[in-house]
C-alpha cells in the first residue's frame, strides 16, 4: 500500500480546513498511542518525546479550528482520501522499536512533517480554486516551520549508541 500515493484534489477552503484539522488531530492521537507504547515498553525518554509531540499536534489542531472559525464538522475517518493508506503526518504503525532512541523518534516525526508539507504542496498544485491554492500554500509554509523546529530539536539530541537495539533480555522463542 505504501508508496502508491495519489494526488488529492480539494475543491473548497472548508474541505481543506477539514483535512488540515483531521491531519493534526490524527497525528496527535497517534503520538498519544506511541507514548503509551513506549511507557509500557519501559522507554520513558522516548515516551516523553512522543508525549510532547502529541501536545504540539493538538495545539496545531486547535490553531486550525481557530483559523476556520470553529472545529470543522466531524466526518467518518475513512471519508478522508489522503492519497495513501493513512494521513501523511501519522507515524506508520509498526515503525517504532521498543528500544529506539529519541533521535530515531524525532527522525520519524521529521519524515511526517515532510510528508505533510508535500501533501499540502500537491493539494495546492492540483486544485482549481484560487482560495484553496492560497490556503494550501499557507499550510505549506506552516509545515516548513514545523520541519525546521524538528530539525532544531534533532540538533540537540545525540545520535544513538552503536548496538542500541541489543536487548540482554530479549523476547525469546520457546
Amino acid at each position: 500500500v505504501s508508496g502508491k500515493e495519489r494526488t488529492v484534489t480539494l475543491a473548497s477552503v472548508e474541505e481543506l480546513y477539514a483535512y488540515a484539522y483531521a491531519l493534526e488531530r490524527e497525528a496527535s492521537e497517534r503520538y498519544e498511542m506511541l507514548t503509551e507504547q513506549m511507557e509500557s515498553g519501559n522507554n520513558p525518554e522516548v515516551a516523553e518525546v512522543f508525549s510532547k509531540l502529541a501536545q504540539i499536534e493538538a495545539l496545531h489542531a486547535g490553531q486550525i479550528a481557530e483559523k476556520a472559525g470553529g472545529t470543522p464538522p466531524a466526518r467518518p475517518p475513512w471519508d478522508y482520501d489522503w492519497g495513501d493508506i493513512e494521513s501523511p503526518e501519522n507515524i506508520p504503525l509498526g515503525a517504532p522499536h521498543y528500544l529506539m532512541s529519541s533521535r530515531q523518534a524525532l527522525n520519524l516525526a521529521l519524515a511526517c512533517e515532510k510528508r505533510a508539507l508535500s501533501f499540502y504542496q500537491a493539494v495546492s498544485d492540483a486544485t482549481g480554486s484560487e482560495d484553496v491554492r492560497a490556503m494550501a500554500a499557507e499550510f505549506v509554509e506552516e509545515e516548513r516551520e514545523h520541519v525546521a523546529l524538528i530539525e532544531e530539536w534533532l540538533d540537540k539530541v545525540p545520535p544513538e549508541e552503536p548496538g542500541w537495539d541489543e536487548d540482554p533480555d530479549e523476547p525469546a522463542e520457546q
Binding site: 500500500v1 505504501s2 508508496g3 472548508e14 480546513y17 492521537e29 498511542m33 506511541l34 503509551e36 507504547q37 513506549m38 511507557e39 509500557s40 515498553g41 522507554n43 476556520a68 472559525g69 470553529g70 472545529t71 470543522p72 464538522p73 466531524a74 466526518r75 467518518p76 475517518p77 475513512w78 478522508y80 493508506i85 493513512e86 506508520p92 504503525l93 509498526g94 515503525a95 517504532p96 522499536h97 521498543y98 523476547p171 525469546a172 522463542e173 520457546q174
Partner: protein, 277 residues
Amino acid sequence: MSAEPVCALTAKDFKSDVKPVWCPGCGDFGVLSSLTKALAELGRPTEEVVVVSGIGCSSRLPAYTSCYGFHGVHGRALPLATGIKLSRPELTVVAAGGDGDGYSIGGNHFLHACRRNVDLTYIVMDNQVYGMTKGQPSPTTMPDWDSALMPGGTGIRPFQPMAVALASGASFVARGFSGDPNGTAKLILDAINHPGFSFVEILSPCVTFRPEEREWKQTVHPAPVEETADRSTAARRILSDDGLNTGVLFRDDRPPYEAPAQATIKDPADLEKEFLL
C-alpha cells in the same frame, strides 16, 4: 461552518484508561484504534456494546475499551458472545481474538457460529503465530516458517479461515489490515451493521516473533473485484486469492438466528433440581 461536531461520540470515548501492554509496534494497536473509531461512528453508548474475547495477546482487547467486556476462556469467545446476544439481543456484541484462539482451540466454535448466523461480529487479529506463549506456529502459519520450536517449519497446509467461514455459512466475510486503521474501521462498522454473523479477518503483524510481517504494509491491496452475494463466486475468489486482498468479500441477506420468541426462562431453582442426586 458549524462549530458543533456532528458526531457526539469520539473514538476516545470507547478507549479505557488501561494502557495496552502489547509490544510497541504491534498490529493490535491498529485494530484497537479501528474498533474504537467504528464504535464512535456507530453512535451507541458504551453500555450498549459488549466486547468478548478468549485468550492471547489480541484477546486483551476488551480491557482496553470502555464497553462492557468479558475476557473469557481460551477459544470460547464465540459461545460467550452467542449467549450474550441471544439473551440480550438489544446489545451490540463484538467477539475478538487471535488466530490461535479462534482457529485452533476455538475452531469448532468458529464453524458453528458461522453456521448459526447469530447477529454478532467476530474480529480475528491474525498474526500467524502464538505470540503470548512466545512464537509457536499457529493454524495460519505457513508450512515453511522456520522457528525454534519447529525447525524447518511445520510442513502443514495453513488453515483457510475465509474459505471455512464461507463454507460454514457466515453471511459477512471481510479482510482488513491493521496498518490501515481507518479502512479497517469502516469494515468493522459494516460488519456490526450487518444483520447476521460477520467475520472480519484482520492481518495484524507480530513485530516481535514475525518481524517480516511488517512487509504486509507493502503487499496488502484492496480486492480488485466488487463484493458478491454469491457464495460460490466468493469461494472461488477466496480460494484463489493471495491472502492479501482487503475489503468485504462476501455479504448476503440470510436471516440471522434469533432466540425462539416463546422461549420460557426456567427458574434457576428448577434447573438445579435436575442435578440433585
